[in-house]
């Protein structure tokens, strides 16, 4: 099992086979619940994976690819798990449809009830209910008429869910071919600053004009901008790292630090405007990683890590729930100014993270608005409510709890219940209730995996990720120039941290931020970005191998 394309192709083909099994399981689970899954989508998924499985043949044959295949295979493995869970979710009308949601849910409930009645009720009972009096009999799925899926050939082939992965694969190939060229890398390294500015200008404009955040549905068009930002930072760091290491009383010279800081700060502007705090979190951790790796002075590292920790502490202190703060002396006074400055969204997320099952009081400023809306709607239905509140103060508490779990805490709470109900091996594909978690195809996909595949499924995702990251780090270690080393390390850190921040948000190890799980989550630009990153890593890996081969040949010739 050396790094031969053929052995990886075998693994990839087996992944395709297993995914086919999982799709059948989902199909069968759907039939039990009384609806059909789309066969077209199933075949589409298998075809996509098959394409990815045989891609190494072409890359090795015609592209003369020499890099590490483990990068590719672990990414495809993650992608296949993602496709499986997405298939589960997207074939469920209750999850997908906006108008027929309630109807689809009712039909599912009814199917379960009818199965139960058919198996258990005597003919007399059935007749009393208004059903044909049949004897008790086991359920035969082949005799039932499930709710048909909206299945059309063209609809499937030309949907975004087909085109985007295809485009991502094309990007992958293109990037591999492009980034393995010396001249391309040289241009990028020399014009890092220009690259960043060129990305920044349209992005900032777009961000300021549409502050709504996610503009086109679930699309995040600024996602690919991460790559030029990273290249820019790596480029400037590759130039400056030696100077930065030269310190005077532990502080490097200003003329070295300022350009770096400037470069590092630039990407934060658009993301701040877009309120994409998850990306900011990932960006800062990646930059810190790169700085620590490149600059080799211990005190500087301490200063940097210390300041990052301080920032985190300030955030946490500011957002700690009030009753927790009250327990520690001096903390409330310390936290007050911080609280004023912190945006509402961050405070909400922190409260959800640290004390998510405990609703804040209705007077809390970042919660008041939502609560009041909810309350107004209630009053519209029940005009006597204000008077009842006067008489019974406990009522407000219960309304507050209901509002909290209906609005802000709804998604995280449902996800946590999902995690907890999954157990060791999960409920089985198609047997969980992942459709109850909103947006569980992208941000919350780990919750869906955990519910239907359990701890075991989560472990597979984590280890596939660790493999991917390890392979990326090896690429960085083997890289021979600082720029590609930093680039490879940065890309790896990007994928790794993004995944950790996402999974940490769902498991409540970190505040939830709404960024995707690379390769697994459904998404347009995020998927394309992930594949481009993979392509770059593969290109770097390829360059490493070629370097060594060339060098070896040179040495051999010289002998």
């Amino acid at each position: 099992m050396k790094n031969r394309a053929s052995s990886h192709i075998v693994i990839l083909l087996l992944i395709v086979f297993l995914t086919a099994i999982s799709h059948y399981a989902i199909h069968y689970g759907a039939l039990i619940r009384g609806y059909e899954t789309s066969t077209m989508t199933g075949f589409r998924n298998i075809a996509l994976l098959f394409l990815l499985a045989i891609l190494p043949i072409f890359l090795a044959r015609f592209g003369k690819f020499q890099g590490n295949w483990a990068l590719y295979t672990s990414a495809v493995l993650l992608f296949s798990i993602g496709l499986t869970v997405q298939y589960r979710l997207f074939s469920d009308q209750e999850y997908v449809s906006k108008k027929d949601k309630a109807e689809a849910r009712q039909e599912k409930i009814k199917t379960a009830q009818m199965h139960y009645i058919q198996q258990n009720y005597s003919p007399e009972k059935k007749q009393m209910m208004g059903l044909p009096p049949t004897e008790k009999a086991p359920v035969d799925l082949s005799k039932e008429t499930p709710r048909p899926s909206e299945d059309s050939f063209f609809g499937t082939v030309f949907s975004g869910r087909t085109i985007i992965p295809l485009f991502a694969i094309a990007c992958l190939i293109g990037v591999i071919l492009l980034f393995r060229r010396d001249d391309v890398l040289e241009i990028l390294q020399k014009n890092g600053f220009l690259l960043v500015v060129l990305t920044l200008v349209p992005l900032l404009l777009a961000a300021i004009t549409s502050r709504a955040g996610k503009s086109i549905g679930n699309m995040t068009p600024w996602e690919p901008a991460k790559i030029p930002f990273l290249i820019g930072f790596a480029a400037i760091l590759a130039v400056l790292y030696k100077n930065l290491a030269r310190t005077y009383w532990g502080v490097p010279r200003a003329k070295d630090v300022i350009p770096l800081l400037f470069m590092a700060m630039l990407p934060f502007f658009p993301f701040f405007v877009l309120k994409d705090f998850g990306q900011m979190m990932v960006f800062s951790s990646v930059y810190v990683t790169l700085y620590i790796i490149a600059v080799r002075r211990l005190p500087q590292r301490f200063v940097l890590i210390g300041s990052v920790l301080l920032l985190v502490c300030v955030l946490v202190v500011g957002a700690l729930p009030e009753d927790t703060q009250a327990k520690i002396p001096l903390l409330p006074t310390l936290a007050k100014p911080v609280k004023k400055v912190l945006p509402d969204r961050i405070q909400q997320r922190f409260h959800l993270w640290l004390d998510g099952f405990n609703p804040p009081t209705p007077e809390t400023d970042w919660w008041k608005e939502d609560y009041d809306d909810y309350y107004k709607k209630l009053v519209e239905k029940e005009p006597n409510l204000p008077q009842m509140l006067e008489e019974d103060p406990n009522l407000q508490k219960s309304i507050n709890v209901d509002a909290w779990f209906d609005i802000l805490a709804f998604q995280p709470a449902q996800a946590t219940f999902g995690l907890s109900s999954g157990g060791t091996t999960g409920r089985g594909l198609g047997l969980g209730y992942v459709e109850l978690i909103p947006v569980s195809d992208s941000d919350y996909i780990y919750a869906a995996i955990a519910e239907e595949l359990g701890l075991f499924g989560g472990l597979l995702v984590i280890f596939a990720l660790i493999t991917l990251v390890s392979a990326g780090i090896r690429t960085a270690v083997e890289a021979r120039d600082m720029f590609s080393k930093l680039c490879a390390a940065g890309l790896t850190a990007f994928i790794g941290f993004q995944a950790l921040v996402n999974m940490g948000g769902i498991t409540r190890a970190l505040p939830m931020t709404g960024i995707t799980l690379p390769f697994v989550s459904h998404g347009g630009f995020s998927l394309i970005t992930s594949f481009i990153m993979l392509g770059m890593l593969m290109a770097f890996s390829h360059r490493n191998s070629v370097d060594r081969l060339v060098e070896a040949e040179l040495i051999n010739e010289n002998r």
Partner: protein, 625 residues
């Protein structure tokens, strides 16, 4: 060749591998296969990655080891390795949180447990799982109280035959649970994991058993009809077995209204009518003269049934001690009360003076003892009297949850030694500090008198649990005597419950009973707005300033009572009726006719025994509601 044949023979349908009878097994098994398969592939991948060490430069081959290490491990590369290590540690930490939520949160995180009702999954599984049917005492599917029906729009809904009439018994889906939520066994684990589906579940889901309860569907409907437009409660029991035949509290509510939050809030907010309150089991009333039955039973238990009290001097009232307030009969209504009369006569005319003296003569211990035996808690001080909680143990139920769901508020009397003779005398006649009686409790007292063995049977709601005794109260002879004395009220001329006899004339049924009329302090509500009426008063606060506050207005509400047993020879029903706010009338005029009608209906339904049942041709077959 044989191998090929073998492959052709085995079925390639995955359903047949995992056990097709249980549908869920197929996807569960397949997803396990998927998991294991991916795990194996991942292990291969990691192995291949680990073995794929980096390419060596040709010149490295001959270099000594230390030099080679120096060449390859730059500070940057070491940092990268450390970072990789940190990343793996972080990833495993995140995974640790996942483990926490799956394994420990269920057991150890109290907040998480308390909020499990917010989990939509349980709501979903509950919606899909059908409860057993609830059948009335006949056990016929045709007279089911709660069952499933296919609605016009095709949904399958839990339907209640007596949705409004039995609302308090059935209980709402939010708030305190009732029978509907407790009668059926909770599923052990409604959400099995994939491997559990494969290994543990051997047969398809078993049906939840139908439960037969002791309520008679027709009687319950009839009882509910009797109280329409009034506030009050009726409890009908079988004194021989403890079966609760009907129990109703008016105003009631429709269960479907309480399902939605708004509807529930509206019901909850209706403080004037309190529709959610089960008056039969959870409201305290002043029992009035009906309580004299208990005092009488105490006298029998003490062997003091023949006690006579000396004639009273003018002004014809009983004064327990010097300078005490007198205990009189209402408006001087009783002419013989001031003279020495036997118990039988005093009970018939409901003499307050006699029973006040009797209570004092019997003493607190004896009264308290009898009270405890019928389920009333004797307490020391008036403060304790309102804090005795619910009395679930009175029920003869197959499990605690059922008993809790319909448990009555514990009725209490004060028997402490600090109580004055006047106050205790008042208790003996059902006034004053005896004012914490539930209608359910009064039905139990009637039931104790009606039992042929002189026992109090534990009330039961499930028809299939064997009858159980709560306490032996009287000897059979004493019980017969008590019944005989009770019959004076309804059967003899001059009894306060004479209306019963006239209503039952021609049916050959003789009854015994006791009327009661009692005043209770009650708050005034505005009839239009439903709000509490208040007057603005002033008082001094801690700082000595005068502050205005709203003081609720209250008035003396008169409640009419009637408890009775029928038929006298072998009582099959013990009834307690209370009607609130009867104005200037008495219990004998308001509550007693209702009880008589209920007895007639019970007779028609054959609940009194076949010999009393009217001839079939005389009654028209009534259509079930």
């Amino acid at each position: 060749m044989t191998l090929l044949l073998f492959f052709l023979q085995i079925s390639w349908k995955p359903e047949s591998w995992f056990g097709g009878q249980i549908l869920e097994r197929t996807p569960a098994g397949l997803s396990l296969v998927y998991l294991i398969g991916v795990a194996v592939l991942l292990i291969f991948l990691i192995l291949s990655f680990l073995r794929n060490t980096r390419l060596k430069f040709a010149f490295e081959e001959n270099l000594p080891k230390q030099v080679k290490r120096k060449l390859t491990s730059t500070v940057t590369n070491r940092s990268l390795r450390i970072w990789q290590f940190v990343f793996v540690a972080l990833a495993l930490t995140v995974y640790g949180f996942h483990v926490y939520w799956t394994y420990y949160a269920d057991k150890n995180n109290e907040q998480f447990q308390a909020l499990s009702y917010k989990d939509l999954r349980t709501r979903r599984t509950n919606a899909a799982r059908l409860r057993g049917w609830m059948l009335d005492r006949s056990g016929k599917l045709g007279s089911a109280l709660a069952y499933y029906k296919v609605e016009k729009d095709g949904t399958i809904d839990r339907t209640f035959a007596l949705e409004k009439e039995m609302a308090h018994l059935l209980g709402t889906e939010r708030g305190t649970p009732g029978l509907e939520r407790t009668l059926y066994k909770a599923e052990a684990d409604p959400m099995p994991e994939a491997w559990e589906i494969l290994t543990k579940i051997k047969k398809p889901e078993e049906e939840q058993r139908d439960v037969r309860i002791t309520i008679d569907r027709d009687l319950q409907a009839y009882v509910a009809q009797q109280l329409q437009g009034k506030k009050g409660a009726i409890v009908v029991m079988n004194p021989q077995t403890g079966d609760v035949l009907a129990m109703y509290s008016n105003p009631s509510f429709a269960l479907s209204d309480a399902e939605k939050l708004e509807g529930y809030l509206r019901l909850e907010g209706d403080k004037m009518n309190k529709p959610l309150l089960s008056r039969a089991t959870r409201e305290y009333y002043v029992p009035g003269s009906t309580f004299k039955t208990l005092t009488m039973m105490s006298a029998f238990r003490a062997g003091q049934q023949d006690l006579m009290f000396p004639d009273l001097a003018a002004p014809d009232c009983y004064t327990p001690y010097k300078n005490s307030r007198p205990i009189c009969d209402a408006g001087g209504s009783c002419e013989i009360c001031s003279v020495s009369v036997p118990l039988r006569e005093a009970y018939k005319v409901s003499s307050n003076q006699y029973f006040a003296q009797l209570a004092n003569a019997l003493g607190r211990d004896r009264m308290g003892e009898t009270a405890r035996l019928v389920g009333i808690a004797p307490v020391d001080t008036p403060e304790d009297a309102l804090t005795q909680g619910y009395f679930a143990d009175i029920w003869n139920a197959s499990n605690k949850r059922i008993a809790n769901s319909i448990s009555p508020t514990r009725s209490t009397i004060v028997t402490g030694s600090k109580l004055s003779l006047y106050d205790f005398g008042l208790e003996g006649m059902g006034q004053g500090l005896a004012g914490q009686m539930t209608p359910f409790q009064m039905a139990l007292i009637a039931s104790a008198a009606g039992n042929m063995q002189g026992m109090l049977m534990k009330p039961r709601i499930e028809a299939d649990v064997p009858p159980q005794m709560f306490a032996q109260i009287l000897t059979p002879q004493q019980a017969a005597e008590v019944r005989d004395i009770m019959s004076t009220v309804t059967e003899e001329a001059g009894g306060t419950g004479g209306v019963v006899k006239s209503k039952l004339s021609g049916t050959n049924i003789s009854t015994g009973g006791k009327t009661g009329t009692a005043e209770k302090e009650a708050l005034v509500y505005d009839q239009k707005t439903g709000r509490l009426k208040t007057v603005t008063k002033k008082r001094k606060n801690e700082n000595g300033e005068l502050v205005e506050y709203q003081d609720p207005v209250s008035y003396e509400r008169t409640d009419g009572w009637f408890i009775c047993i029928a038929p006298l020879e072998n009582p099959q029903v013990a009834i307690a009726v209370v009607v609130e706010d009867i104005g200037n009338r008495f219990g004998g005029q308001t509550a007693a006719p209702i009880a008589a009608d209920v007895i007639l209906k019970a007779r028609e339904l054959g609940l009194l025994g076949e010999q009393y049942r009217p001839k079939p041709q005389t009654t028209q077959p009534k259509k079930r509601k």
